[in-house]
Amino acid sequence: MKRIFFFLSAVLLPFIVSGQNGYNQNQFQQLGETLPTPNNYRTASGAPGHEYWQQKVNYDMKIVLNDDNQSISGSEKITYINNSPDVLPYLWLQLDQNIFKPGSDSYLTETASNKTIGKTMNFQALENFNREEFDGGFKISAVRDASGKALKYTINKTMMRVDLTEPLKAKGQLAFTVEWSFNINNQKTHSGRSGYEYFEQDKNYLYEMAQFFPRLCVYNDAAGWQNKQFLGAGEFALEFGDYRVSITVPADHVVAATGTLQNPDDVMKKSWNDRLEKAKSASKPVIIISQKEAEANEKSRSKSTKTWVYQAENVRDFAWASSRKFIWDAMNVKVGEKNVMAMSLYPKEGNPLWENFSTQAIAHTLEVYSRYTVNYPYPVAWSINGPVGGMEYPMICFNGPRPESDGTYSSSTKYALIGVVIHEVGHNFFPMIINSDERQWTWMDEGLNTFCQYLSEQEWEEKYPSRRGEPRDIVPYMSSDKSVLDAIMTNSESVIQLGPNAYGKPATALNILRETVMGRELFDFAFKQYAERWAFKHPEPADFFRTMEDASAVDLDWFWRGWFYGIEPVDLALNKVSWYSIDSSNPELEKTELKSKRSKEALSISEQRNKSSIAKYRIETFPELADFYTKYDALAITDHDRKQYQKYYDALDSKQKNALQSGINYYILDFENVGGLVMPLIVEMEYEDGTKEIQRIPAEIWRQNNKNVSKLFITKKPVKQFTLDPFQETADIDLSNNYFPAKTIPSKFQLFKQEQQKKEANLMQLQRSGNL
């Protein structure tokens, strides 16, 4: 135990050790030079500027589904409204289906596997060859101006440039038409974000259709034309507009789509319409088409067609689903003053899982997300079961999980369904409403959405098994070698591990921001502010970073730099604790203690051996060698000592006398930033009497020295154990250096080995067979 003097007021400030080796390396350097310069379109506060503009594109489409050869043909009248200050000589359209064209870049840029060729060709390699034979991709048959005159167009892979006869003036608008057809991909063999599924048993098709029409690229102040080619991973950048879409399908199909059905009486049975009317005020799911009806319907083979007309306002895209197989349920969700219909369509293969959870999960998502972002603005929200594992469009999404054929399901399948429905319905907010550029930045929709998904899942039931969001779950990724990591701020197509990079890490970072850095109140306000500012607009990363600071007065540049621009992990260490207590100056206490301490000091090895080896000291042989010093005991308490102390004590005022008797402990803790990512210090002190106290120190403690800091803690009671980050809220990749005194903590492996947990099987199945 060291001692320091009583009159210590200067130590109440944190000790900050050593200097910095260069301004530019400081984690707290402001981001201003990295972010784009604010302008009249986007302000330095992160809000849209006073001259912010965006284009509007309206579509009037007629689509015909051919169920006999799984193809569609379509025509669209596009109205392009140029709100930009620029003159546009040409327009760019996206032809996403072209990734299914033989020889597409998506195929060509696949990196080859050494397993693909050779004696042991596997099923997938075989499938890849078959895929090349699929005649996919858009077949454009006409592009005409409003008067019907052909417009010149050029197709560059997944992009099509339409050259205008006259350049489109600023604030002007024009209309043109496109006609096309394409073969629909079998999603189960060709994959894709949409496609069909064939059901062998009843010989029916189920279609989930998206990217099925030539769509305008975004033209804006940040990217100009966003015509970066579609390779498959980077999703979409799309303009808002109004849609009217007529979809002609076999008369016995049921069609769900973005928007509101305009002609229910023409296409639906009266009984379905009546039930749908009831569902409009139902607080629980109501069956519109029962499983029995769907099973009867899937046996039908109508030769005639029906046309379903859907209309949607202010959406950035349009998707639909069609089949004979659909069971349909629906309920009402109150969002603010508005009523929204939450509805699900699924084949019997999805039951009973789907009727139990899908529509309720939609309703839950709309309620929770509306609270954290903006009120859900659309009239419906669909969840469709089909071949696609999980994919989102405005008002409609496609979700994959199904139970076993015997109707049982494992708990992982159950949570997979609830999780994917929350996630895909959640995408209505990011990026369908808060319309970021997915082609460029996956994290802006996936990361923010996964964060809100985590919040929603945690409100579904206690201890909901969320895959992403908890800091400890990102640790394996964060502890990987830097060669396999990318910064979150990396283009979508170039990310090595898109799952943890664009979903897990940003979602966790936001959760840490909310719980540990900003606090819920400041975070929630700022996050909502971002959603409100950019609803129905095109935000960029800087708009998010700036808004979060602008609305909270928390300097977060270090946080964005570390978590979004960097790849370093959090590894904070508590290296040393020095304990200081007050010197009472009372000889009775101090000298006695020193004496007892001395007596406890271990003898050196020489001293121990000398005890037996030296038979007689010289001083014993010649007693005259002993003098005053031989006998003097420095630790003996003298009258002089007592007098001195009394004099010292009498001179103290009452406040000082109290402090002297309080037995206050001073601890100086030495922290090291081993990982590189600066974070707040959360220190738990467990006292000798078993009680605990937490001190939270903002990350700014590292602002002058990003590597080492020391900090003084003052406690009334002596501390038994210091723990850094006791609730594992910083994603610290190494907890073994978080304790003082050091503590061995059992690893996840050792814990598992102790528990010898049984693997989680399909417990429902076991129960049915009497094995549970």
Binding site: E110, T111, N114, S412, S483
Partner: protein, 166 residues
């Protein structure tokens, strides 16, 4: 879009690679050296549906994680795909501790006795590489304060050597 929740309808229908909706073929394996027991403690995290696909292909029938003998099949498969050899090139035995399914991930726990430590160990982690062209297997090693990672994907060597202090 979420990482695939893909339901296999038959052994012969496997994920293909354009994989727009299903892009993340990644497994992550944590190998930590326990100097007390002188063994490598391994936790392999692998997507459940990917592993089911691989097992279905290997055993030529549809395999689900709810199957009674799933654990056995899993260990049989991993014995051929994941292994360590010590610095002298001696093959080491995978001692399986157990596995747990956590939503869409399976964690497989195994232990490998390796008195000489992790440095210069030769590692093979080619799980799923025979099934998915885009599969990436990341193996993170930790021995005391030292860390390193190895990456196995198409085009990388099947057996790689760990360079790590002790």
């Amino acid at each position: 879009m979420l990482k695939r929740f893909f339901v296999l309808s038959s052994v012969f229908i496997l994920l293909s690679l354009v994989s727009t909706a299903h892009k993340f073929y990644t497994s992550m394996t944590q190998v930590e050296y326990n100097s007390k027991t002188q063994s490598a403690e391994v936790i392999m995290n692998i997507f459940t549906d990917d592993l089911e696909t691989a097992l279905s292909e290997k055993f030529n029938r549809q395999v689900r994680n709810s199957d009674k003998n799933f654990t056995t099949l899993c260990y049989q498969y991993l014995d051929t795909r994941f292994s360590l050899k010590d610095a002298q090139g001696h093959a080491l035995k995978n001692e399986y501790v157990g596995l747990e399914v956590n939503r869409d991930m399976i964690s497989i726990y195994l232990e490998i006795k390796i008195p000489g430590g992790l440095n210069e160990t030769r590692v093979k982690q080619v799980s799923l590489l025979e099934v998915f062209n885009d599969q990436t297997n990341i193996v993170n090693f930790r021995s005391g304060k030292n860390r390193t990672s190895l990456v196995f994907r198409s085009g990388t060597a099947d057996i790689q050597t760990v360079k790590i202090g002790s």
